[in-house]
């Protein structure tokens, strides 16, 4: 561990402890760490996005040769001959991006709708087919399963049970979300089965969520023990 890493590790460790101090109660150390995180994050992402999005996708392509270099009559050629020049497209994309900043000015906020409308329309158009294929067609296809599976002449109990449960779960879950008929009688019974399946799925999700939160705590604890405490002892030659 060099000197700079040593200082960085100490700053990170102290900020971690400041954040943990909120578990006792709200306090100025927590507030300091919170505001510092928000401020640094905002600044970092502005700089990062400028250098990794705006600079390589807009500024560099336009100024690559040292000048803007938009050919004369490019717009006219674009309209008359359909000769699309990539620089025109780049400038148009940049202008659409700029329109989004008009949200900061209440009187001209409507201008931002053009940029947003373009990105929403583009996103929806591009993802429509793939979304339908991946999240609807393939899922329906994945649910069409035989409830009784026979492999090499032998009844496969495990796969049959899994398939049957999956079919019951999908159908009853769909019935639960069918609101055009009152959930009474047979429909109500099937919907109730759907609720059970939903509850099991929520339980699984909650279990995974606990695992995730504990994992994050493990990550921080590991940093405090390995990098901070043991690292400091090693740096000072005590270990």
């Amino acid at each position: 561990m060099d000197g700079l890493t040593f200082i960085g590790t100490w700053i990170a460790a102290l900020l971690t402890l400041f954040i943990f101090s909120f578990l006792y109660k709200d306090n100025p150390f927590y507030k300091f760490a919170e505001y510092l995180f928000v401020g640094v994050s905002a600044g970092y992402f502005v700089a990062y996005n400028y250098h990794n999005a705006i600079l390589p996708n807009l500024i560099r392509p336009l100024f690559a040769a040292g000048s803007v270099d938009v050919p004369k009559g490019a717009v006219l050629r674009l309209l008359q001959d359909g000769a699309w020049d990539w620089r025109i497209l780049t400038i148009l994309a940049g202008l659409l991006g700029l329109t989004m900043l008009f949200r900061f000015f209440p009187k001209a906020a409507w201008v931002s709708r053009y940029g947003i409308a373009f990105s929403v329309g583009l996103g929806a158009g591009l993802s429509f087919i793939t979304y339908l294929q991946a999240n609807c067609v393939a899922q329906v296809y994945g649910t069409i399963l035989p409830p009784a599976v026979i492999n090499n002449g032998v009844f496969d109990f495990g796969t049959s049970l899994t398939n049957t449960l999956l079919i019951i779960g999908v159908v009853s879950g769909l019935v639960y979300f069918y609101f055009s008929k009152e959930h009474r009688g047979a429909v109500g019974g099937v919907a109730r089965v759907g609720v059970w399946f939903l509850m099991v799925s929520f339980g699984a999700s909650f279990g995974y969520t606990i695992m995730a939160r504990i994992s994050l705590l493990i990550g921080r604890m590991d940093f405090l023990i390995t990098d901070w405490i043991k690292g400091t002892l090693r740096f000072l030659g005590l270990m």
Binding site: L23, F45, N52, T130, A134, I214, M221
Partner: protein
């Protein structure tokens, strides 16, 4: 009865301290509990990498940030190790801003174990905003989406990229994801549109929502949370933070289960003792006042 009432109204800070000790204890003094069982989802990814011919090209997308690193970074290390052990070529990219830097860190952490040459054994294309649109673009041409790599080196100057034009030249995709854009985008575009094998490593919170993709075969395998990382570390026989954290994970889960049992016992014991019952009697929030 006094103890039950104390249990029902236990100060939450006591729970925090106990959970903290349950997590820190096993990190300080490993309990050497039995190793995690490898699930079929983790095994499927391992087997797929094993089955690829030596020198196959794999895309690894770093779509996470430092907040998700304790769960996803150990997966990245284990998966990259496996790729380099099998001498596969790795194309690193990122749909999340900080993913590219985390990839640099991951490579630096394992580079001493291998004789890796940048541009030949692996490349880091860096971060590109756009999510699914970027994946769509690399489906037709990597160079269109990434004219240069993270170091601003044009792609045509990287030997590895001279053999790879688009996603069709890639054997499989491993997405290390902590949210959006991530696994859904890769499944929707790389798998549904370009028929590429897609595997995923994700945070435990996100893992359940991708089970339908696994069941339908749209994803070949998944590593879920720190346990998923521990499974892959076990498969590649190189324990890391994932394996190290499993003792803490087990103890913390046991403590949480004990607390849940205590809370329920206290709740029902107090409800039985009071004629009216209800949460107020058990030490919970009082009922709203009548108007």
């Amino acid at each position: 009865m006094g103890f039950i009432r104390w249990l029902a109204n236990i100060d939450r800070r006591i729970i925090f301290v106990v959970i903290g000790l349950a997590v820190a204890g096993p990190l300080l003094v490993p309990l050497n509990l039995p190793p995690v069982t490898v699930t079929s989802q983790a095994r499927a990814i391992y087997d797929a990498v094993e089955a690829l011919p030596t020198g196959s090209t794999i895309v690894v997308s770093f779509d996470y940030d430092p907040a998700a690193a304790p769960e996803v970074h150990p997966m990245a290390l284990a998966f990259l190790r496996h790729c380099f052990i099998k001498k596969h070529k790795v194309i690193i990219m990122a749909l999340w801003p900080q993913g590219a830097q985390l990839a640099v860190r991951a490579i630096s952490e394992i580079s001493s174990e291998f004789d890796l040459k940048y541009g030949v054994d692996y490349v880091n294309l860096g971060y590109k905003p756009g999510g699914a649109i970027v994946i769509n673009l690399i489906g037709t041409s990597f160079a269109k989406a990434f004219p240069s790599d993270i170091n601003q080196t044009p792609l045509n100057q990287l030997p590895l990229m001279s053999k790879v034009n688009n996603l069709k030249d890639v054997a499989m995709v491993m997405d290390l994801s902590a949210g959006d854009p991530g696994i859904p985008a890769w499944v929707m575009v790389a798998n549904a549109l370009f028929q590429r094998k897609v595997a995923g490593g994700t945070t435990a919170v996100s893992a359940p929502q991708f089970f339908p993709y696994l069941q339908s075969g749209q994803m070949m395998g998944q590593l879920g949370g720190m346990k998923g990382a521990a499974e892959y570390e076990r498969l590649v026989k190189h324990p890391g933070l994932g394996s190290r954290g499993m003792d803490s994970q087990s103890v913390a889960h046991a403590v949480i289960i004990v607390f849940i049992i205590f809370a329920n016992v206290a709740y029902f014991a107090l409800r039985r003792k009071t004629p009216s019952g209800g949460p107020a009697a058990a030490g919970g929030a009082p009922p709203p006042a009548a108007p």
